[in-house]
């Protein structure tokens, strides 16, 4: 095998080549880092919701249908659905849960806002078999006011104490901790800190005096309030099962729908159907309303895999180019080896071993780099990836396989290229590269530049759009607004609270509202009587107070803003879209009824200009603004301050503490909240940018290899021209003209796919600003310029060549 020999020669060769070899190894490691990073990323994405046993048999039932004029497609389902499913008998488990609102949880003196508080059926942990670390859950969450907490919640509230048997308080109800479970893996489509028994909800509703809810919330088929998951028995087909469920539910929904039709004298259609989503597909495929977390788009994963494979391939190609660029030396060496007795297989082996040694070095460097970079990559991309080489044999062999693949691929070309040459030509140094060999190398540079161009342009377009979102006028002014969460805590004294805060220097207005951009808006069902032609319509509703309009800087189209002093508790403001949707010719004269409650007719007192109350992903929909009723829970207090004024948040906090009975004071700026809506896209843009930079680096490396090759290839003619007194510029010009066309073609052919990709990406936005074509031109010129600089630096050395012998 002569393995020792090959390894020795390879290592000595690397040492001899110095900087050139380092560049080569570095290029390969950059490709590998990217490859490994994408493997981690993809594995993380693919591991979503696989931690539960039999996850391939677990489904979520989601709802689609029509309610009046509204098309519904939501991840939630009605509560009574579970009993229908259970009666059909094809399932092992059915579990429902309802996420609770963001609320304070208290244990002794510790108080935190918790949004991971869920109410679930007793068998929750049978279906989602998270490991129970403490406590006994044989009975499950059978009784009201029981709660299971996660490990991290346990250490947050109880430190080292055993939480089992202790009580935590939320919204005036004490919950007994009956167990501690392990934290859900980060790769889950939902998360929780607390799982309380669903039977507690009755008690909560009773305390709030919502007696109609207490009566209805369990039976109402049109109230899509919970998430229903089930585990099918083995061998049951989910499609036919869902068909069965839908047939069953029709019998139950029909009477309710009939009742409503009768009482409302409405002719609108109400249709609901359920469909099953496999647990493991939710993260990738589900993009419904009311998702438990923002889900991924498979296109991104495909894009990353594509880019990573491409980068790996191109680094291999660069490696081949760099190793075969210094031809003459290698030629003669191979020739001598052949004459000394090397067989073809021995020569091939030598090159493969050399490539593998490079690969090994690059793998080592890339693993160290990844280990160092991962925390930064994680925080930069807002991910939680872990890299542990020795986690298991699979990883070990995986990396070994990648290494082997890269090594063999990178080494195969030099191996077969050199070993097949005839010795007499090799030692005489007369060997000429064929034109086709040169064209192949040129095309490789073309493909590298095409990918680099594609990525930089697409990344630029993403940043362009993100910038557009930040700069564009959404129809309201989000600057200088501080949002205090859970404003509800000061509900009883909201008037005095507002007055006190207004006294803080710099504060202009203080308002309150139920929803902000990014939140779900409460869908109100309204009925409009247009001269006998009734129709029912769902409108998103935001409950606001008088000052909301001033705080947000909303513009009026007609009429006036809601004003409690003018008795607008039965008034409504609509946006222009709503007026259009409702086909109101004289909106200020018309009344809108709240569906199912004929006494509540709302008077349209004003029409406001459309503003982006959701995000740029969705077009501006109709919106109804209603004054906050006294008892209604609202989420936010908004403080508008003067431009450039620094608000003393400590004094605001003092005022808050005076009225809020100790609720936590959590605030952020409205702009920060809005930025969060585009976090995912910004993250993708960041990843794309990093990829773009790396591929640019690799493309430049490719040019360096090609130029090295050209100089080597043309060294004689360059040397002769030198002697004849040719200027450096003309020699650089000659070298650049030999490959420049490949760079230019690469840049050009990438432009069209980049254009398509940008448009495809932009489709997820309702408001999209296409990056100017000048960006294409600027990047094209930059890439061509960079490749010229790479030529310049190398030719500078090459141009001083003198003819030998």
């Amino acid at each position: 095998m002569m393995l020792n020999h090959h390894i020795k020669v390879a290592i000595r060769g690397i040492r001899k080549q110095g900087a050139y070899a380092l560049l080569n190894i570095l290029g390969l490691s950059v490709g590998l880092v990217l490859g490994l990073f994408v493997i981690l990323l993809v594995r993380h994405e693919l591991s979503y919701d696989t931690s539960f046993s039999d996850s391939q048999r677990i489904y979520r039932l989601a709802t689609e249908g029509v309610l009046g004029n509204n098309i519904i497609k939501t991840a939630t389902s009605p509560l009574p659905l579970a009993s229908v499913v259970e009666e059909l008998g094809d399932v092992e488990e059915v579990v429902r849960f309802i996420p609770g609102a963001n609320n304070v949880v208290q244990y002794n003196d510790l108080r935190y806002n918790e949004d991971g508080f869920m109410f679930a059926d007793a068998d929750f942990f049978n279906l989602f078999d998270v490991e129970i670390l403490r406590g006994n859950l044989d009975e499950g969450l059978a009784l009201p006011r029981q709660v299971v907490i996660t490990k991290s919640i346990a250490s947050k509230y109880f430190d080292t104490e055993n939480p089992v048997g202790k009580f935590v308080e939320r919204d005036g109800i004490k919950y007994k901790v009956i167990g501690v479970c392990d934290d859900l893996p980060a790769a889950s489509h939902f998360s929780f800190g607390f799982i309380a028994s669903i039977s507690t909800i009755d008690e909560i509703l009773l305390r709030k005096g919502d007696s109609t809810y207490v009566k209805n919330w369990k039976e109402d088929w049109l109230y899509l309030n919970c998430y229903t998951y089930l585990k099918l028995q083995k061998g049951i087909d989910n499609k036919s099962f869902v068909d069965k469920v839908n047939r069953e539910k029709d019998k139950l929904i029909a009477p309710q729908v009939e009742n409503i039709m009768k009482s409302e004298q409405s002719t609108d259609s109400i249709e609901l159907a359920f469909f099953a989503q496999n647990l493991r597909n939710i993260h990738f495929e589900s993009h419904l309303d009311s998702e438990l977390s923002s889900n991924s788009k498979p296109i991104y994963i495909q894009l990353f895999v594509f880019v990573a494979i491409f980068v790996l391939l191109t680094t291999c190609v660069n490696f081949m180019n760099l190793t075969t660029a210094k031809l003459k030396m290698k030629y003669q060496e191979v020739g001598y080896r052949q004459l000394v007795g090397a067989s073809r297989s021995q020569l091939i082996m030598q090159f493969l071993v050399e490539a593998l040694i490079y690969g090994l070095g690059a793998t080592f460097i890339s693993m160290v780099l990844l280990e160092i970079l991962l925390p930064f990559l994680n925080s930069f991309f807002d991910l939680n990836l872990k890299f542990n080489f020795f986690r298991g044999w699979v990883d070990f062999f995986g990396i070994l396989l990648v290494l082997l693949f890269v090594g063999l691929l990178a080494g195969s070309f030099p191996a077969f290229f050199f070993s097949g040459r005839k010795p007499e030509k090799l030692i005489s140094g007369e060997y000429k590269i064929s034109k086709s060999g040169f064209v192949v190398r040129g095309l490789l540079v073309t493909s590298q530049f095409a990918v680099a161009m594609f990525l930089v342009v697409v990344a630029s377009a993403m940043w362009w759009q993100i910038n557009f979102i930040r700069q564009n006028d959404p129809g309201f002014n989000s600057d200088n607004i501080i949002v205090i969460e859970r404003g509800h805590a000061v509900r009883n004294d909201i008037k005095t609270f507002k007055k006190d805060v207004l006294n803080v220097s710099g504060v202009q207005y203080v308002g309150a509202c139920k929803s902000l951009p990014g939140d779900d808006y409460f869908p109100g069902t309204f009925k409009l009587s247009n001269g006998g032609d009734d129709h029912v319509l769902m409108l998103p509703v935001n409950y606001v107070d008088d000052d909301y309009f001033n705080v947000m800087g909303i513009r009026l189209k007609a009429g006036r803003f809601l004003n409690s002093e003018l008795g607008d508790s039965l008034g409504i403001n609509l946006n222009v879209s709503a007026v259009k949707e409702l086909k109101m010719s004289k909106p200020l004269d018309e009344k809108i009824e709240i569906f199912g409650n004929e006494e509540w007719a709302l008077r349209t007192v004003g029409v406001v200009q459309d503003y982006n109350y959701e995000s740029y992903f969705t077009p501006i929909k109709p919106l109804a603004l209603i004054l906050l009723p006294d008892k209604m829970r609202f989420e936010y207090v908004l403080i508008k301050h003067e431009e450039g004024a620094r608000i003393d948040m400590e004094s605001v906090k003092d005022i808050w503490n005076k009225y809020s009975e100790g609720a936590p004071f959590v605030y952020s700026s409205l702009n920060e909240r809005i930025d969060k809506l585009y976090e995912e896209d910004e993250r993708i843009a960041k990843i794309m940018s990093v990829f773009a930079m790396l591929s640019l680096f690799i493309a430049i490396l490719g040019v360096i290899a090609l130029v090295a090759f050209i100089i080597e290839y043309k060294s004689n003619s360059i040397a002769v021209k030198n002697v004849m007194g040719a200027s450096r510029q003309s020699i650089m010009g000659q070298v650049f003209s030999m490959f420049g066309v490949y760079v230019i073609v690469g840049v050009l052919i990438a432009s069209l796919p980049a254009y398509w990709a940008i448009l495809a990406w932009g489709r997820s936005y309702a408001y999209f600003d296409f990056v100017g074509l000048s960006t294409f031109v600027i990047w094209a010129l930059t890439l061509i310029g960079l490749s010229f600089i790479a030529t310049f630096i190398q030719t500078f050395r090459g141009a001083s060549l003198r003819p030998v012998s």
């Binding site: 002569m2 020795k8 020669v9 000595r12 001899k16 001598y336 004459l339 000394v340 007795g341 007499e424």
Partner: protein, 227 residues
């Protein structure tokens, strides 16, 4: 041992044909020291490459150890060369990444000798040429003479039937050249068959027989030793 009949070698480059060897007849017997003499461009290297089985003739016959080899494929010629022919080049042809010991050892490795056997043989050569003290040195650290001695050592380590030397003194000063010529003569005395190409008439004197080439033709054959 080597019998060439009407060897012709034509090089084609596009439409241009150059005849580098024309009807060359030559016989080399076991143990002979044959010098091929001629000015540059006379076809020495082509002839020596053909005899050394590196290159194929365009026409004619070539017998090597009783086999007709002029039509053999590269792989078959390579098999005959391996261990059978040792090569010495003008520019030494040492592998830069290997030290003296390893350079000499290389042919044995390709022929899959055991480590023990390799050690014994390489040490023999090192002491024979009195370069044992250089065993760890790399080609870069050697003088031209030392390099050529290492190259000669590498050529004979497999006890080849034939040693082909192409201008072995071309890159050496005259005194170093003499030393190399002495070494070749002593190898011939040990029984090695040597075919050497040179353009120097003085060096040609060292051979037993001189074949003079001019423009691809054999001009004279000086059969000094046979007389």
């Amino acid at each position: 041992m080597i019998h060439a009949r009407n060897l012709t070698k034509v090089l084609r480059n596009g439409a241009i044909e150059t005849t580098v060897l024309q009807n060359v007849n030559i016989d080399i017997e076991q143990g002979e020291y044959v010098v091929i003499l001629g000015p540059s461009g006379s076809g020495k290297t082509s002839l020596i490459n053909t005899i050394g089985l590196i290159d194929k003739p365009t026409s004619g016959e070539l017998f090597f150890m009783g086999h007709e080899v002029s039509r053999l494929k590269e792989r078959q010629r390579s098999n005959l060369r391996r261990g059978g022919i040792g090569f010495i080049f003008q520019n030494f042809g040492l592998i830069d990444e290997l030290n003296v010991y390893e350079n000499i050892e290389l042919p044995l490795q390709y022929l899959k000798y055991s480590k023990k056997a390799r050690q014994v043989k390489v040490n023999e050569i090192l002491s024979k040429f009195q370069i044992s003290h250089l065993r760890q040195y790399y080609p870069k650290q050697l003088t031209a003479l030392q390099k050529q001695l290492v190259a000669i050592g590498r050529a004979i380590i497999t006890n080849p039937n034939l040693i082909i030397a192409d201008e072995p003194t071309g890159n050496l000063s005259s005194s170093c050249g003499n030393k190399v010529m002495d070494t070749l003569s002593s190898l011939n005395e040990e029984g090695y068959t040597i075919v050497m190409a040179t353009h120097s008439a003085t060096e040609a004197e060292r051979g037993q027989r001189v074949v003079q080439l001019f423009d691809g033709h054999v001009v004279t054959e000086n059969i000094k030793s046979r007389l």
